[in-house]
Amino acid sequence: MKDSTTYTKKLSYVIEDIKEWPIYKISQDKEDYLKEIIAKTKEETLERFKNESDLLDEIKKIRYQEIIRLKKNPWQSDKPSELEFWKQKKKEIIAITSMEDEQERKKGLEQQLNEIMDLYANEIVANFDPAKYNIARKALPVVFSRLLNAFPGKLYKLFTPGKSLHEKLQLNGEIDQIRKLSTQGTLVFVPTHFSNLDSPTIGMAIDGIGLPAVTYGAGINLFTIKLLSNFMNNLGSYKVDRRRRNEVYLKLLKNYSTVGLTRGVHSLFFPGGTRSRSGAIEDKLKLGLLGTAVEAQQINLSNPSKEKIFVVPVVLNYHFVMEASKLINEQLKAEGKENYLSEDEFKNSFKILKFIYKFFTATPKIIISFGKPMDVIGNKVDNSGESFNEIGQKVEIEDYFITENKLTNNAQRNNVYTQHLAKKITAAFKENNIVFTSHICAFVAFEIISKKHNQLSIFELVRLPKEELEIDYLRFEKGVQKMKTLLLELKENNKLKLSDEVYKDAKFIINNGMKFLGTYHPQPVLKKSKKGTILISDMKLLYFYHNRTLGYNLEDKIV
């Protein structure tokens, strides 16, 4: 990145004393924190299910779904006592419905709701142990940097220090500003999501820029894997059980986030929801968790300190995604259908170790680019946290939440604001995306093939016979040259970022890009044949990596 700050060294901590970190304080204050979350959730639930019969139906439904889930889709993370809990509930509910007195029944149902929320909240809640964090922050970078310097087959390098971690894990973007804002308000990091290793990677990156640890929701199945559980349980991540889909649970999860933000805990959401199946940068975001940032801002405004929430878009840039094959297959199989991380993908510690090892050993470099922080409306903010709207006026965040001179709580308005914020975030993803040489090669090769067979759908393209998957070298080089020119133009207009290698000539870009394009995969995605042509060995993977540079209207201009 020729013209923006890239850090290759770890920065000093903005707050030295871990015991002063918000994430530690909230962990110390767990009881009170949970009380607030439960009270808020209860209020919303009783508002949502106003009639006694509606509330009863909801509780019955939850109980029924949970029993079915425990029997039909059990996970290792399930507590043995839970089945008993729900069985017991059945008897209690029957007892309540047979009560004569309406007030008694109401009290009974609320008690049931309380117990369910207690069960959920105590499962969700994160713990943060400074001692464990200290071990992790010292040990992980060492392990990772050794891994990053080792190459497959040259294991001995694991035990010798090489380049520092931060030379391979480069941190780029608005880092100074983010550090400044971290003490003036609460940060919400919203990264793109391609790989299961995104969370530890970004965790290291946030530590690398000297910020206090952030909290984030992780799949509950990760907490039971031996290797991870110790870290997962003590580094401030909270547990999300994606099998629980009932409204009470989802409200509780949202409020966990909202209340945490109002208490100043910096947070991390993957706003795309799950990993990008297609390999494209997310252009539609899940609004649920994102909405908690807007709600938290509104709540903060009614407190005297009026603390601001700052949203920081983050783009993770890799030459390859380990799970690419699996992801793109799922994408092609079920366009649009939601697929969550299946339990067996990360079944045991060995699989994980292998995964992490492969990831870091095969990775030439990872660049994390931090975008410009914004307020929850999507306005830019300056170093002191003041907001500026699109026409350059300084604006007060409070004004967005005031109606007829009063600060108002309006969920529908917050939803509209969240939609606007989501649009700003996806735009920022595009602007902070760093194009690598490998992305260029994938894009050009795929476009050449798809233009040649322009009547074929993507499903037919990925089934093209081998002899169709050959590209004339000169044609390829011309395409790469053309794309480079277009990319430089986009860069000039701040529409995206380029890695340093992209500034070199087309031949270099091709050699470098082909070398790193999906280095991890058993077969290189692109390779040169003996006669000098370019061969595509895996059309699906090519499509996946090609998609990374979608959204800049380059498709029709390359070939």
Binding site: E396, E404, N410
Partner: protein, 343 residues
């Protein structure tokens, strides 16, 4: 800041009528650029042939209206809308809520010569507010609301459309009375388009009247006109729902039946042998419908079927004989009567 004083920007007949309507429930400040108009309202208490309600006061200071009112209704012609916003933008904040009552579109390009217009370059008035000012909570007021009838306190209804429910609620609260019903909608741009596209159908209605065609012909025009409006909106990416309500069919019927509307008069005078230049001289300004026709022509590349608009364009701008145009329309291949409800 005074509590709940409502602002109206633009003291034309409709703006004045809305100010009077609002004044039944609220204190109102009416903005007029011209000091004479301000005096007419504040001193003579009469303007645009309307008695001014006691709760209305006028000003020509943008800052005053922005300071005193959080809910403001801009009601100025689309050709002046951007300029108005630029005058006000330094005083407007995200605290303000704007519900406009202008049925027109904004484009920067000179449409007569330039046909390269893309749909992204067209702004409805609510979009223009978002683009030019720091206001985020915007809405629009649309429906069969002929200014003279509102001024005469005759019964009517309208739609307030906004992405924000609270904007709709505030609009309803401010405007509703037992002679004026207010519906709500979240389809802001759909409602705005319905109000705009009906304008050229009103020109055609003036023609049917001028040619002495009867009610059957007018009914045919209104129904096919609405279908055509829906085709255009659909090809620009909007759904037909808004066209079936008060702001769509409702507004279309009122405008096509009123002999007072500028659009209607343009059509009528054309059948009396006058050309566009003469008509503009007669009625004082270009009717919105004429601009709408130019816009539709520039958008033809989106491939919608709009035979009525095409014929009108030829008649007005290219000297096609009216009878020939009618003849053409009566002989086009007819397809299904209603084909816009299935998605």
């Amino acid at each position: 800041m005074e509590d709940k004083t409502i602002g109206v920007i633009g003291a034309g007949s409709f703006g004045t009528a809305i100010a009077n309507l609002l004044a039944e429930n609220n204190k109102v400040i009416l903005f007029a650029r011209n000091q004479k108009v301000v005096d007419a309202i504040n001193i003579n208490r009469k303007h645009k042939k309307q008695e001014i309600h006691l709760n209305v006061s006028a000003t020509n200071t943008p800052k005053e209206i922005a300071d005193k009112c959080q809910l403001i209704f801009p009601i100025v012609p689309s050709s002046n809308f951007k300029l108005m916003l630029q005058t006000f933008k330094d005083y407007l904040t995200p605290r303000h809520i704007l519900i406009h009552g202008t049925k027109g579109l904004h484009v920067e390009k000179e449409l007569v010569k330039d046909l390269s217009l893309m749909k992204e370059e067209i702004y409805t008035m609510s979009e223009l507010i978002l683009k030019e000012t720091g206001v985020v909570r915007v809405g629009c007021l649309a429906g069969p609301n002929l200014a003279t009838e509102i001024a005469e306190k005759k019964l009517a209804a309208a739609v307030v459309a906004s992405d924000y429910d609270e904007v709709i609620e505030l609009g309803k609260k401010a405007l509703s009375s037992n002679r004026f019903m207010v519906y709500g909608s979240n389809d802001t741009v759909g409602i705005e388009l319905a109000g705009v596209l009906k304008n050229y159908i009103a020109i055609a209605a003036g023609m049917t009247s001028g040619l002495g065609y009867g009610d059957n012909a007018k009914a045919l025009l209104v129904t096919r006109g609405m279908t055509e409006m829906i085709y255009i909106a659909r090809s620009l990416g909007y759904s037909p729902e808004a066209f079936l309500g008060v702001a769509g069919i409702g507004d279309l019927m009122a405008t096509c039946n009123s002999q007072l509307s500028r659009n209607f008069r343009v059509g009528y005078f054309l059948t009396q042998g006058k050309n566009l230049a003469e008509i503009i001289k007669e009625i004082g300004e270009v009717a919105e419908g004429v601009k709408t026709l130019q816009l539709i022509r520039a958008l033809n590349k989106y491939g919608f079927k709009a035979p009525i608009a095409n014929v009108l364009y030829h008649v007005i701008f290219e000297g096609m004989e009216i009878k020939k145009g009618v003849n053409y329309l009566m002989n086009i291949n007819v397809e299904a009567d209603v084909d816009f409800l299935s998605k």
